[in-house]
């Protein structure tokens, strides 16, 4: 039986990658992701994990190595954050349209300038359209579970796509909390060895990643888009199988106290836990408030999200990213676009909070709900509101 232990979330993720029997780990350290790859390099050096750890010279090289490793048929893992993730950007689009499975944990961090090592979602939103499957974890247990799930889905021959698991830097990565690390036997049951349909093999030469002339480029991109849409079915199926083996069930969108709710908060990542506590407090005050937590970000679970809204009249969407000059934050824009002109759709208000490590507290969530309630009565002048700015 697996046991609940107190462990730092980063170390638990590295242990999960070990339990997944990753074979190649090209990685470059960057705060707040460092503890994950540091621990993996120790596991490999101590002979606890039979894998190639490649200490590359940059994140650009890390992602390039990941492409080669996956193409050669090895189970591949890496991890990054912020500017490091952006240094990978040139390569990130390549494994996705080439359909090369691999798993990356991104410990989400703000983008400089000003220099910040702290948590928000700007780094991953810069990479929103790279065509990788993406999930967001709420706590340490989920970070471990979603990492295992990511390998299972990415390598499924019906999917064959790279996969990013997002965990909030520091607020998850550096916290010691109770986590149940699964048994090797169960992980092996859940995660069969990686057997790609095609791989690079000198004895059976094939071409991967040739030039896409205008006559085929559109078709290659449409094929990628179709693969992403089709992937949702297998993402859900793998969560069902995960629940059967490990007893923890995950959904693409989680509802919390949404029955009869008039106002719904919408969150992604670890602030969702604080948001639940805020919802409890507001419910105690007699307010009809609930919460929708988005776990699956790409492919976006449109159907599930629409269903989860129920009869709510107002959505207060919280983004952890402020794209200057945009209509609103990326999650807000996604949901506005999803619900546009749907009869009976709720009013949608977009909020930005928790940039560069600014704490998103229970009090902030109450403030967001109060503002959304006001906005529903009197339309605000702006399309989004940044919460908790000290001077305007």
């Amino acid at each position: 039986m697996s046991k609940r232990v107190g462990i730092e979330v980063s170390i638990a993720i590295a242990e999960a990658v070990g339990l997944a029997r990753a074979e190649v780990i090209p990685a470059y350290p960057i705060t707040p992701q460092t503890h994950i790859v540091e621990h993996l390099s120790e596991m490999v050096a101590n002979g606890e994990l039979d894998a190639e750890f490649i200490p590359v010279e940059s994140e650009h090289a890390a992602m390039s190595c990941c492409c080669g490793s996956s193409a050669a048929g090895a189970r591949t893992f890496t991890s990054s954050s912020a500017q490091g993730l952006s240094l990978m950007s040139e390569i990130l689009y390549i494994p996705s349209t080439m359909r090369l499975p691999m798993v990356m944990v991104v410990a989400n961090r703000a983008m400089s300038a000003p220099i910040s090592i702290w948590n928000d979602h700007q780094d991953i939103m810069v990479q929103r359209d790279i065509g990788w499957i993406q999930t967001f974890a709420e706590n340490g247990q989920e970070a471990v579970d979603l990492t295992l799930h990511a390998f299972r889905v990415a390598e499924d021959r019906n999917v064959s796509l790279p996969f990013i698991v997002n965990i909030d830097g520091f607020t998850l990565s550096h916290v010691i909390e109770p986590i149940e690390l699964p048994d090797q036997e169960d992980v092996d049951k859940f995660l069969p060895p990686f057997k790609p349909r095609y791989k690079l093999d000198p004895r059976r030469p094939i071409t991967m990643g040739p030039v896409g002339i205008p006559e085929v480029y559109t078709e290659a991109k449409v094929a990628h888009d179709m693969a992403m849409r089709k992937a949702k079915r297998y993402i859900l199926k793998a969560w069902d199988e995960f629940a059967e083996i490990f007893g923890r069930k995950y959904n693409p969108v989680e509802s919390y106290r949404t029955e009869d709710a008039e106002i719904l908060l919408v969150t992604m990542g670890s602030i969702s836990e604080t948001a639940m506590t805020a919802v409890d407090a507001m419910r105690d005050d007699g307010q009809k408030v609930g919460l929708l937590r988005i776990r699956l970000w790409r492919p976006f679970p449109s159907q599930e999200f629409r269903k989860a809204i129920g009869k709510a009249k107002v959505l207060a969407v919280v983004d952890r990213c402020l794209p200057p000059g945009a209509v609103c934050g990326p999650v807000g824009a996604e949901i506005r676009s999803l619900l546009y002109k749907i009869p009976g759709a709720p009013k949608i208000f977009s909020f930005v909070a928790g940039l560069g490590g600014r704490d998103v507290t229970v009090a902030r969530f109450k403030e967001i709900v109060d503002k959304a309630r006001q906005f529903a009565k009197k339309r605000p002048r702006e399309l989004y509101e940044v919460i908790g700015v000290r001077e305007k």
Partner: protein
């Protein structure tokens, strides 16, 4: 749920203290979180670490703003930092100090309940180093029931291996020598 803020200086092991308490509490079946004041810490600079311990699942990622317990590792910090900031009604401040209760109250203006021990002296004598993070856990045990001694000792053994014995001895001495005010 009990919330703890630990004040130390970078390099004094405040984060390790938090980690030991949280892992011990989890080992005895409770829920707990331990986390540093996130950021690039510098040796010698005032730093903080945080613990939450609860009988039920902890569903917050807020920093600790209103601690029940404040643990101060370094005797020079109460003069520099308002260690009692945000302390809950009925909360306790646990100090490493050679001063008496009246001296502490006069010098630092702390109104709350106090627990005091000269941890620097104990650590210097028992460990040969004025590193007080494990010694001060003895004061924490004496002044609060946040965690049991046995799982804490197991956490110490796991963390420090053969050095655990000395640390356990310093911790026990601090337990005996800590003075808790009413």
């Amino acid at each position: 749920m009990k919330e703890v803020r630990i004040h130390g200086r970078g390099g004094q092991g405040g984060v390790t203290s938090a980690e030991l308490v949280a892992t011990a509490a989890i080992a005895q079946g409770k829920y707990a979180q331990a986390f540093p004041s996130f950021g690039p810490e510098r040796r010698g600079a005032p730093v903080a670490a945080f613990i939450r311990v609860s009988d039920t699942q902890i569903r917050t990622r807020e920093k600790v703003y209103t601690p029940d317990i404040v643990l101060v590792l370094d005797p020079s910090l109460p003069g520099l930092v308002n260690v009692a900031e945000g302390l809950k009604e009925g909360g306790i401040v646990i100090l490493n100090t050679e001063l008496s209760e009246s001296e502490v109250r006069e010098k630092f203006g702390i109104q709350s309940r106090l627990a005091m021990v000269d941890a620097t002296k104990i650590a210097t004598e028992e460990l040969g180093l004025p590193i007080t993070n494990t010694t001060m856990l003895g004061a924490l045990l004496k002044a609060t029931g946040i965690v049991d001694k046995e799982p804490l000792f197991e956490a110490l053994e796991k963390r420090f291996g053969r050095l655990a014995e000395k640390n356990k001895k310093a911790l026990e001495r601090a337990m005996n020598e800590t003075v808790v005010t009413g």
